[in-house]
Each structure stands twice: as structure tokens, then as C-alpha cells.
Symmetry: C2
Subunit: 230 residues, 2 copies
């Protein structure tokens, strides 16, 4: 059985939880607070970031994009029609482009700010960077999320799923990030119905259930967070 070091509101960890659930794998989940910079964690991932997957063989696979490629190469063929990385060259470019869009760009423009300021800082000591949220960062994220939502709507108006005709890693990455922002009530869903309909489709998959059950201690989610017909 594999182990996943994750933080429940790290969107890139959520993406890998979705991928593993879609593959029918049930990893041992170990919660890691990356800001603590635990020595034992830095030993297995010098970058200090979540998620990190640990195979029973001892092989360590750090980083969401790297875990996704690894899982496709080691388990993808067994999934046949449900494989989340397509086979065609141009299709692979498109899935990887959008995967990076959400895991790196959306993370640095939206989710990173919101999760750090609104969630992580509640649990950090002052030495770790804790304190009151920086409202400039929160406002920047709230501005940025609007064009990302519009971009998702633009894509979904032309395709059944984000990267094409089939559900791929790109859908799971996008939905994982939106789920963190949605917990905080910061997705302006009324601005793009097409994007909302797509999110409702992904959110109603069984793989999503455990994400919708996560709670930040002392901080309730937005009212519609776990509602499948929001």
C-alpha cells in the first residue's frame, strides 16, 4: 500500500488524492504541515513541499506533476478507457499544458495566496510566518480567480472536459484547486455558469467525497461547499 504525505488544504495534494481515488488506490494518508519544515520530511523531499508519495518499495515520488506522470507510467495502461493521460502526442501536450496551468500558475496566482493567508497562518507560529492575513494578497487572489474561472468556461464551451473529449488529469487538477478556493467562499460562481456546471460534474464523482469531508478546525466551509447541486 502506498503512503501519501499531504496537507488537506494543499490543492496539489488534493489533486493526487483525486487521482489515486480515480485509480482505485487507497493510500495511507499522513498529514504534513510543510511550514514546520520537519527534518524527517525534508529528508524525503528536500523541496519541503507536499504532496509526496511513498511506495511500499521505499521509492519516494515528490511533487504533484511528477507523481501524476509516475502513476500514469506505472498504472496508466491498466486503466485502459479510464486512463487520465491520453496517448496522442498533441493530446498529451494539451493535458500537460493545463496541468501546469493549475498546479503552478493557478497555485501561484490564487490558491497559494488564499490558503496561506486564510488557513495556514492560523496554525503557524510567528517564527513560521504566522499572524493576521495579508489583505493585499487575498484581494490579488480574488481578482485573479475571475479570469481563471472565465478561462475554464471558455474551454468547456468548446470541449466536453477541460483538455478535450475525456476526463484527464487537467480536470482533476483544476477541480482540486477550485475546491480549496470554494471552501473559503472565494469562487464567484455566478460569473460563469459553464464553469460551474463542469465543476458540479467533477464534484459529484465518488473520488471527490473525501475532499468534501475535510474541515479546517474552527472554520466552517462556505455553505454550498459540500452541496452537489450548488
Amino acid at each position: 500500500m502506498a503512503t501519501l504525505y499531504h496537507f488537506p488544504f494543499c490543492a496539489n495534494s488534493r489533486f493526487i488524492r483525486l487521482v489515486l481515488a480515480e485509480m482505485g488506490m487507497e493510500p495511507v494518508l499522513l498529514e504534513e504541515k510543510p511550514w514546520e519544515r520537519r527534518d524527517d520530511f525534508l529528508l524525503i523531499n528536500p523541496a519541503g513541499s507536499t504532496p509526496v508519495m511513498l511506495e511500499q518499495s521505499g521509492l519516494v515520488i515528490p511533487g504533484a506533476g511528477i507523481i501524476a506522470e509516475y502513476l500514469d507510467e506505472t498504472r496508466g495502461l491498466g486503466l485502459s478507457g479510464r486512463r487520465m493521460m491520453p496517448e496522442g502526442t498533441a493530446d498529451r501536450v494539451e493535458v500537460r499544458r493545463l496541468l501546469e496551468w493549475f498546479l503552478v500558475k493557478f497555485e501561484s496566482e490564487v490558491t497559494g495566496y488564499l490558503v496561506t493567508e486564510k488557513i495556514a497562518k492560523r496554525f503557524m507560529s510567528m517564527a513560521e510566518g504566522g499572524g493576521p492575513p495579508d489583505m493585499h494578497a487575498i484581494r490579488a487572489a480574488r481578482t485573479n480567480v475571475r479570469y481563471h474561472l472565465k478561462y475554464i468556461g471558455y474551454l468547456i464551451a468548446r470541449r466536453r472536459w477541460i483538455a478535450g473529449d475525456h476526463l484527464t488529469y487537467a480536470d482533476l487538477a483544476a477541480a482540486a484547486h477550485l475546491s480549496c478556493v470554494d471552501y473559503l467562499g472565494d469562487v464567484p460562481w455566478d460569473e460563469d455558469e459553464t464553469a460551474r456546471d463542469w465543476y458540479a460534474r467533477v464534484k459529484s464523482r465518488p473520488s471527490f467525497r473525501s475532499l468534501l469531508a475535510d474541515r479546517v478546525p474552527g472554520m466552517a466551509p462556505a455553505a454550498h461547499y459540500a452541496d452537489l447541486d450548488f
Copy 2:
């Protein structure tokens, strides 16, 4: 013949120039200033970032990591012993881990700050974000580069190349980033001889020549920049 949209001091563009040269490919190079946000460029890469590769077939491949995977999948097998992405599962994880380390982490902690503040701002209008360099950003980058250099030294003390016994994408990505920082005179080479020896090895490869010929108009490189025995 392929086309590469690049900016000469975008380290991720330099990485792809090195990869293409190692593969014996000579792309048409088109200089792109990403901060101008040209409409025609945004059409081929909505993320607005360099590098972007354009195949003669019309296929667009945006982003350094994605281009590297694409080139390995379409041309890698023809390189046999000179392939820069290994075949073994654990080796692939390690190359991708270090590739992401330099393309994303080093970029956001070192190269991004230095190239933006010291180079790009000289050519940006005020509306594009131009103006005097932010010394806080430059100081942060100069602090950060020291632990990255130490990490390269740590790896090279245990292996012939950064990710193992063979030259891989990880070496080219690390060297591409260091080459930008080195132009600006901001690599403290005297702090790590092991890292310096490895860089001298990569820098003396024929694929590196065109990088060493690049110049920022009105800004000479550090004295040893193009010197192979620095």
C-alpha cells in the same frame, strides 16, 4: 524546421535551446518579450510565458517542462545513449524532480527576481512594470542562490551528473539557470568548488556556445561569463 519563441535571458528558454542543440536540432529563434503581452503570442500560449516551440506541422508546445517531455517522446528514442530522459522508473522520478526544482523553484527563488529586476525592467515601459530595480528582490535572490549552489555541490559530490551517472535534462536546466545568474555576476562560485567544476563541464559543451554569445544591450556580462576556465 521547428521555431522557438524565446527571450535570450529567460532561463527556461535557454534550457530548451540547450536541449535542442544537444539533439542536433537548429530551430528558427524568434525573440519574444513576454511582458509586452503581444496578442499574437497570447493566441499561441495563453499563459503568455516563454519558451514556446512551434512545429512545422503547426503543433504548438508551450512551456519548458512540456517541451522537454514532448521532445523525449518524439525524438528521444533516436538519441539512444545520448537520451536525456532515462528509462528506469526511479531515474525518471529523479530527473523530473530536479527538472522541476530548477524550472520552477530556482526560477521563483532566484532567476525570476534577478532577470526581472536587472534586465527586463530596463526594457519595460512604466505601464509594463518598468522602473528602477527592487533591491529587496535582488538581495533575496542573492541569499537564495547560495543554498541552491550548495545543493548542486551536495548532489555532484555523490554522482557524476546532477541526477545520476549520465547527463540529463536536470543538468541542462540547472546550467541554463546558473548561466543567467552568472551573466549578472551573482553566482558565488568560490563558495562551492564542486558545483563550479560541474558547471565548467556543462559550459564547455558545444550546445552552450550560443548562450555564451548572448548579450544584454548596454550591459556587459561578468568578466568570466564566457570563459571556459573561469
